[in-house]
Symmetry: C2
């Protein structure tokens, strides 16, 4: 029996749902899926780096040897051998991380959601970098905080500004290595000062580190986690060093917080795929990442150099950008009167795309900024795309 002419439902969304909007980036990505577009818009790693054969072997092995376990429900905190592997890999610089400080999640984005759920009270302050990762702003915004923008410069956020704005804050969110969107690296001095300040204020400090392994040259700077494991919440991910499509990340934090996050995860999705966790453990347990990651670094470093050279060659005087030491992004600052969103419309008309900087700001946006990603575009297209953008910018300088 079908109900005849039912009263149409007037869908009423919660106040927190009213905060939600589709990410500008995801909307841009839909446009830029067109094969004729040169897209610097993606935040996607290069599929050339995905170890498909290696993953296939690992899936085959786990399903052959432990198929029934891998396909069954699993524990909420995650697959124990993988949690142990992570704890061990982070037990460095004199710090010991225990497996009960590790929670497996379905990508770092879920860690951000769970942290918002557990730590953010309606109306409480969340401190974020200026600009900050859009996905974090989205995840936290559902829990209706007051975002407070912490000033930054080319060496990351300015720790000395934190104390004056931290009163009543529930957390500070930072992304110190090869920042998204700016590509910047927080200096060692800043890290130490930030950890010290947050520890003194009793302010939970999130260290989001999806790109940390992607240093182009030399050792990455010490993790803030190792400076104060009792006060830092570290987020790691397999998306940029293995593959993102499997959705696997982790949170490392004091056990008391992990237990609360585990309860929140149980209510959110019970647990992360047992099969995926077992396969990733199988894929990495014998040292695969230490052979694999250098090949990603080399690829990205080369493509970054191609883009930097093209920017140098084609972009007019008055446009500024940074020289990333790793990661996937370059941040461009245009003369003040040029609006990135408007430039995007013109660029798309010429089959080039990027992400305007404005959506990355929690409060007043600097609209004359752009994020460029170079990792999925072949060198000759990087040069051509930059040349097109340069032409459009020059037109606006006349």
């Amino acid at each position: 029996m079908k109900i005849e002419n039912p009263t149409p439902i007037k869908w009423q969304f919660s106040q927190r749902a009213e905060q939600l909007q589709s990410s500008v980036i995801r909307e841009i990505l839909k446009v830029t899926m067109r094969p004729d577009i040169i897209s610097f818009a993606g935040g996607l790693p290069s599929p050339a780096t995905f170890p498909v054969e290696h993953m296939k072997t690992a899936f085959d092995k786990v399903l052959s040897d432990q198929g029934k376990v891998a396909l069954q429900y699993g524990p909420t905190d995650g697959y124990a051998p993988l949690r142990e592997w992570i704890a061990q890999s982070l037990s460095i610089d004199g710090v010991t991380i225990s497996p009960d400080q590790v929670l497996m999640v379905s990508g770092s984005q879920q860690a951000l959601d769970l942290l918002g759920k557990v730590l953010v009270e309606d109306g409480s302050k969340v401190l974020v970098e200026t600009p900050s990762y859009l996905g974090a702003l989205q995840a936290f915004s559902v829990y209706r905080p007051e975002f407070v923008s912490v000033p930054t410069d080319e060496n990351g956020l300015l720790p000395e500004t934190v104390e004056g704005i931290a009163d009543g804050a529930c957390l500070l969110y930072s992304l110190p290595n090869f920042h998204n969107p700016t590509g910047r690296t927080m200096s060692l001095e800043r890290r130490e000062a930030l950890v010290e300040t947050c520890a003194r204020l009793g302010l939970p400090l999130i260290e989001d580190d999806p790109y940390g392994a992607l240093s182009y040259a030399g050792e990455p700077l010490p993790k803030m986690l190792t400076m104060n494991p009792n006060g830092v919440i570290y987020l790691g991910s397999f998306s940029k060093v293995l593959t993102p499509g499997i959705r696997l990340g982790y949170v490392v934090a004091p056990a008391i917080l992990i237990r609360k996050l585990e309860q929140a995860k149980q209510a959110s999705d019970l647990h992360t795929s047992q099969l995926t966790q077992m396969v990733v453990y199988e894929a990495i347990k014998d040292g695969f990442l230490s052979q694999h990651i250098p090949s990603i670094r080399t690829l990205y470093a080369n493509q970054c150099k191609v883009m930097l050279d093209a920017l140098e060659e084609f972009f007019p005087v008055g446009v500024k950008w940074n020289q990333p030491a790793g990661g996937m992004f370059i941040w461009v600052t245009l003369p003040k009167h040029i609006d990135g969103m408007q430039l995007l419309d013109e660029a798309i008309a010429q089959n080039v795309a990027f992400v305007p900087g404005a959506p990355f700001y929690a409060n007043e946006p600097e609209t004359n900024t752009l994020r460029l990603s170079f990792v999925t575009v072949p060198p000759e297209k990087i040069r051509h795309g930059v040349q097109v953008l340069a032409g459009l910018i020059k037109n606006k300088l006349r």
Copy 2:
């Protein structure tokens, strides 16, 4: 540099996080993982039903043919061919479901979380069956509703009671087929009356249907979705018909709600594993489920009969239970003075476990109830476990 003697953080959890506690069931499951325990506590499907070889072939095929796509980030709403397959499979009884009414999620539990996020306002009423699925109570409780228990009997909830308690409610949550925890089936008349009442009141009606395919005999009753696709939110899952460890489910609802849920999902975890979705599509697209599901039904029907026979043989007069027409659970009602939680302690001491009924009640619990699952226990152990429970119950009747 490690910070010396930092101020220990006094972790302050949000009010919504204070609602969270670890599920009684998951705590019991930890005890019952001991191999010497006969556990009727699980909500886990039988691993004997997992098509390991078939899944292995599907993983191999997807990774061989489309590895780079499968391992890359994917769209938030899900893998299009799988969404189309689901839409088509639900376009029955004269109803057409379009793929844009389908959102893929990481198991039904995530659908419950997203629905809570998007529809539940602090303090607004959520109507649930008496008793109800514990995972739904957990998922919604984070969003701090007032739970209102809708009376039920052996044929499911009583639709005529809804209108009197629905004022200001944001949703009604139901599980009409082979209910968890009661194993009951909502009658056709009740379904029609409930859909009609909710449509008249403009009250969103959730039809959670993880067990619907597991009917022991005959066709399942019509889905409420087909009675009013504009007012019913249907939740489906691959956990009970394929495997749960991969975490894959879906929501079917009017497109306006799906778009809002999609935004919430994007903020929660970006998207569900692209690889998993492609593999499940590969595994089911040529009709695999229509061969596979009957074998699950037969296994569960047989084990259900073993337990029913044992209950009949061993349980004393004064104990009541139902005869499920499908699914994984039997609901036992003891004489009023026997407390299920206390009985559990005694049962565990004799290496038998089950889930007490109390945690399934949103409001006043009936403490003299138990949920028994028979699907993962071999027949001879079912008989022995029931005999042990019967002895403990008889002791309390003396």
